[in-house]
């Protein structure tokens, strides 16, 4: 068996899977190495995809580009719901409860059957580097695999430490070993590491829960899917359940706060603010007594229930007390205790926008190793790292998505340009152009790119083109079709609760009225029969036109600075017009264009003006 590859991916979590699949799909001989073949695409925390807005946007973008996550969750969810429906199309979000075992199986199957891709068990302990460039990896068993590009997607395994109460012991996840050698190796290569932590709640036995005291949270009666390629089926959905903490819960936690790792200091490293442990919630919001608790099935063929809202790394006996203070859980049995994990990450300002290390050429990173949190964030980086590692090998330009183009672009740019002081999670509030980056139009934004790259197949793309053509034709038709203020039309409008019509208008004008939908237009013209996804696009395009155009103008203005490229070898220390702080920050981040430079904290508008001038005569300022 050949040990020479084009791309090697280390780690088969959500980042690693997408990375390996993308690289292989682009024609690179790819090796995916994982510590344990049985834990490919494991969901070690919440068994769900989507949820908080922006996570589903990421999944749709991955799917539009040709990635796996959307298709696999569609084929493995236990229930799916639409969130934020009334809050506008830009922020609508999907949340699917995964059958986590099935998700793993389907992902494993997809990878095992992918051409150009070898999946293999092995613990990577060393990156082989020569003259600052990656040559391959070496495993704990002493096997060497060579490749000009390596993608690290090691999750929480680098110098991982598990924490429960005062107890600390090595581990990447419960039941799995951590890896210390690779951290030491990275440091010896000149890569700076830092510590983050994360935690997960206990899992309960489904038969030990009193459902009478819980509120059922059923799946959506309307068919919903993440992937643009998935078909709908009518599989029965399994509900989640809902309850709340009581004053007794708060009392138990308060009485035991000295056991809480975040209080006692037995865990170091910053944790995510958006995923606080129940201990932290009680400490930070002492007046709030009833915190939400969701009980979520982990699979069709397991009795484990995930306890969303009860994240904690308190000692197990305290966890029992906490759980049993909650209505419906008085007799609940814990199957897996909650715990915290502390791990090394690479502060992401050490990488470029293509997710390649600036210290070691050919070394790419994706997922928690870059300081992020979340399966979707990891997968989004994975597909980008996979594409860019392949492009590096193939001698092609890196793919960098713009902030105005995709949440993935916002994600990568935030990481590289701003860095992060806590495990980073995507939120729609992070995007400047939220109305453009909608969950519904991810295919319109990114499918053409996915096709051009070779990740989206001919058939998929043909279907997309049909949809796009129908949307454009329909919008055109709405613009040219006139409605006259006849008595009949005016009566119908009144009946629909819409304002009177004084003069002839286009159908598009009518559709812009907030109270009218596309379906209402059939009263005024012969409407064609159209697929729901086309109607959705048409409605949003027409109704939001004014707002969207405004954001498009802002994007044009924004793009001006983005288009001014900064050469990589510019020497900021030679530019005397820059303030010292700006020189240091620019040298650290090494922005690729003026727009990115302007987003770096510590770089002022005046510094950008100076840079703009310098870039005209940049030869004087580059290092040899």
């Amino acid at each position: 068996m050949s040990k020479n590859y084009d791309v090697i991916v280390v780690g088969a979590g959500h980042a690693g899977c997408e990375a390996a699949y993308a690289a292989a799909k682009l024609g690179c001989r790819t090796l995916l190495l994982t510590i344990n073949l049985s834990t490919i695409a494991l969901m070690p925390c919440n068994p769900a995809i989507g949820g908080p807005a922006a996570k589903s946007h990421l999944v749709r973008e991955i799917d539009a580009l040709g990635g796996l996550m959307g298709r696999i969750i569609d084929n493995s969810f236990l229930n799916i719901r639409l969130l934020n429906e009334s809050r506008g199309p830009a922020v609508r979000a999907l949340r699917a409860q995964a059958d986590k075992v099935l998700y793993q199986s389907l992902m494993t199957q997809a990878l095992e059957s992918a051409p150009n891709l070898d999946v293999r068990q092995g613990i990577v302990t060393e990156i082989l580097v020569e003259d600052g460039a990656v040559q391959g990896v070496k495993t704990k068993h002493g096997v060497e695999f060579t490749a000009p590009a390596v993608i690290l997607a090691t999750g929480t395994f680098l110098r991982g430490v598990l924490v429960v109460g005062q107890l600390r012991y090595p581990g990447g996840r419960a039941g799995e070993p951590g890896v210390n050698e690779l951290s030491e190796n990275l440091e010896s290569l000149g890569i700076e590491l830092s510590r983050f932590q994360s935690a997960t709640p206990p899992r309960l036995h489904a038969d030990s829960v009193d459902y009478e005291k819980l509120t059922e949270q059923p799946g959506s009666p309307v068919p919903l899917r993440f992937s643009f390629d998935s078909d709908h089926d009518d599989r029965p959905q399994i509900p989640c359940w809902y309850t709340r903490t009581t004053p007794k819960t708060i009392e138990v936690i308060r009485d035991n706060l000295h056991h809480s790792p975040i209080q006692s200091g037995s865990v170091v490293g910053e944790g995510p603010r958006f995923c606080p442990s129940i201990d932290r919630k009680v400490m930070r919001f002492p007046d709030k007594l009833d915190h939400q608790v969701f009980l979520e099935p982990e699979g069709r063929y397991t009795k484990e229930l995930y306890c969303l809202g009860l994240t904690t790394a308190m000692p197990e006996y305290v966890q029992e007390e906490i759980v049993r203070s909650i209505p419906g859980l008085e007799h609940a049995k814990i199957m897996r205790p909650g715990y915290a994990v502390e791990y090394d990450y690479i502060p992401p300002s050490q990488m470029t926008l293509s997710l390649e290390s600036r210290v070691v050429s050919g070394l790419f990173t994706a997922g928690q190793i870059n300081g992020t949190s979340g399966y979707e964030e990891a997968a989004a980086q994975g597909i980008i790292a996979g594409i860019n590692a392949a492009h590096k090998v193939l001698g092609k330009e890196p793919v960098i998505l713009r902030r105005s183009e995709a949440y993935i672009g916002v994600l990568v740019d935030d990481l590289v340009t701003k860095g992060t002081t806590e495990p980073y999670r995507m939120m729609t509030s992070r995007a400047e152009y939220r109305l453009l980056l909608r969950v519904d139009n991810a295919d319109l934004r990114l499918r053409p790119l996915g096709y051009k790259l070779g990740l989206v197949g001919e058939e998929q793309f043909a279907r997309f083109n049909d949809k796009r053509r129908l949307i454009n034709e329909t919008i055109n038709w709405l613009n040219v079709t006139r409605v006259n203020p006849t008595a009949e039309v005016r009566a119908k409008l009144q009946e629909l609760g819409s304002g009177d019509l004084k003069k002839s208008v286009s159908l598009a004008d009518l559709l812009q009225r907030p109270e009218l939908s596309f379906a209402d237009l059939k009263f005024f013209a012969d409407c064609p029969e159209l697929p729901g996804e086309v109607i959705e696009q048409v409605e949003i395009s027409v109704k939001y036109a004014g707002y969207v155009e405004r954001q498009l103008r802002q994007v044009a203005e924004f793009q001006r600075l983005e288009d001014v490229k900064i050469p990589d070898n510019i020497d900021y220390m030679k530019i005397h017009g820059l303030r010292t702080e700006a020189r240091e920050r620019l040298t650290a981040v090494r922005p690729v264009n003026l727009g990115q430079a302007a987003r770096i904290s510590g770089v002022s508008p005046a510094d950008i003006s100076v840079l703009a001038v310098v870039l005209k005569d940049v030869d004087k300022y580059v290092s040899a």
């Binding site: 807005a53 930070r284 939400q292 509030s429 992070r430 003006s609 100076v610 703009a612 001038v613 005569d617």
Partner: protein, 462 residues
């Protein structure tokens, strides 16, 4: 090119004999077309490069003439910046120059960043590469200087009021964003009425702030001063002496009605806008010509009243009445005709009506004006107004005002969106826009703050 057209005052305002407002960018001609009427009647847009026209700068929104001026047209790439450039060369006075600038901004130009003309010139290849470092110094120093002024201006009441407004807006935005980004967390819903009320309150406060900015006071726009007194006490002589003395007659600005005009002069760096001087010159009697009501209204609007009396004739009931009616205003009392024998003394005036107003005895016919100027400057300085270069203040002020107005417009959009029953994702566009415009004044990054505040205020997460 998507370069926005930029505008700025190119001369030191208030001091120079002529004032230049310069525009550069692809819309420069379009804007000139809307705000300049050539004497010849030809269209500014049609002018060949390097031509000049005499004519009037007008405010198309109010249909009024701002000033007579010369329009200079340069077509890119043959211009200083390499872009289409127009310049309005007018009489260099604070009010006029600022008004021209504001009109250009309202017509779509953006306030130029410090050194931006130079920067564009450089970027468009109009400056020699060897000048690069000199340009950097210019950009650097001008930016630092203007930042210093901006920060300076922000210390004090303006900054406090903007902060208070921002806090209200942040509270709303943070709730909106928390609801949007964390749909599964129990964050209280926002009612339409509640949102509308907050937005309306903030709009109201912005309006008050904009109005304050409009009044502008002293250094910014000039002190609104009225010369008043009964007929034949020497009001027109005083005006002419002031104008002669300062040689700083800028222009006539027609007021809201044809009966008032303003003249701007510079009294040791303090710009004075003399109101209703046309009235004084024509009939020498404001009260008689306009009626008491109008006169009282004018006094009410004035920042400073120069009350002229004749010391050589007996006090009249009119003198006493003016003194009584202007009691609560900033005043200088001028007793004219000191070259003639005095027939009354200060003791003859009601001490309560006179209050602490400085009294200057003077002969406008042959005496020095210095004591009067001293009195005015002394009075203004005591009122907490310090000297500074008017041009810097105007530039930063124009920015602030633009930012406040844009914030207000954004909130009005949000309110309209809300009233149309449209969802949060659209409402938030206006709300965030408003916060960002206010952030332009204070120089903070809104986006990060919103996220920090979400986690500080709401117990989010699982």
């Amino acid at each position: 090119m998507t370069e926005q057209t930029i505008a700025a005052i190119a001369t030191a305002v208030g001091e120079a004999g002529i004032g230049i407002v310069r525009l550069s960018g692809k819309e420069a001609f379009d804007i000139a077309e809307k705000m300049f009427v050539t004497k010849r009647g030809d269209s500014p847009k049609s002018l060949p490069g390097y031509s000049a026209r005499y004519g009037r700068v007008v405010d198309p929104y109010q249909g009024r003439t701002i000033d007579e001026a010369i329009l200079l047209v340069m077509r890119g790439p043959y211009s200083y910046t390499g872009e289409d450039v127009v310049e309005f060369q007018c009489h260099g006075g604070v009010v006029v120059v600022q008004k021209i600038l504001e009109t250009a901004l309202r017509l779509g130009a953006r306030m130029a960043e410090p050194g931006e003309f130079t920067k564009r010139a450089f970027l468009n290849g109009r400056l020699d590469l060897s000048q690069a470092e000199a340009v950097i110094d210019v950009v650097r120093s001008r930016t630092e200087e203007s930042l210093a002024v901006a920060v300076d201006q922000l210390e004090g009441s303006l900054s406090k009021r903007i902060s208070a407004i921002r806090e209200q807006l942040y509270d709303l935005v943070v709730r909106v964003e928390a609801i949007i980004d964390y749909p599964e967390d129990d964050i209280p819903e926002l009612e339409v009425d509640e949102m509308a009320e907050v937005i309306r309150t903030v709009i109201g406060e912005l309006e008050r702030l904009i109005a304050t900015a409009d009044q502008g006071k002293v250094l910014r726009e000039g002190l609104k001063a009225v010369i008043t007194g009964k007929p034949n006490v020497g009001k027109s002589s005083l005006l002419n002496r002031l104008l002669d003395e300062q040689r700083a007659l800028v222009t006539d600005i027609p007021g809201t009605t044809r009966d008032t005009i303003e003249e701007v002069l510079n009294l040791r760096g303090i710009p004075l806008r003399l109101i209703d001087t046309a009235g004084i010159r024509e009939s020498d009697d404001v009260v008689e010509r306009l009626g008491v009501e109008r006169a009282v209204q004018l006094w009410g609007e004035a920042d400073l009243i120069i009350h002229v009396m004749d010391g050589s004739v007996p006090l009249s009931s009119e003198d006493r009445e003016i003194l009584a009616r202007t009691r609560d205003k900033l005043r200088v009392v001028v007793i004219n005709k000191s070259d003639l024998p005095r027939v009354w003394s200060l003791d003859d005036l009601d001490a309560r009506d006179l209050g602490e107003a400085p009294v200057v005895e003077i002969s406008l016919l042959e005496g020095e004006l210095t004591p009067l100027v001293d009195a005015v400057v002394g009075l203004v300085s005591k009122g907490g107004i310090r000297e500074s270069t008017a041009s810097q203040a105007i530039v930063t002020r124009a920015r602030h005002k633009t930012a406040l107005e844009e914030a207000k417009a954004d909130l009005e959009n949000a309110l309209e969106t809300l009233s149309m029953g449209l969802p949060l994702d659209l409402i938030s566009v206006g709300l965030q826009g408003a916060l960002e415009h206010l952030g332009e004044i204070t120089g903070e990054t809104v986006r990060e703050n919103i996220i920090d505040r979400i986690f500080a205020q709401f117990c989010i997460g699982k």
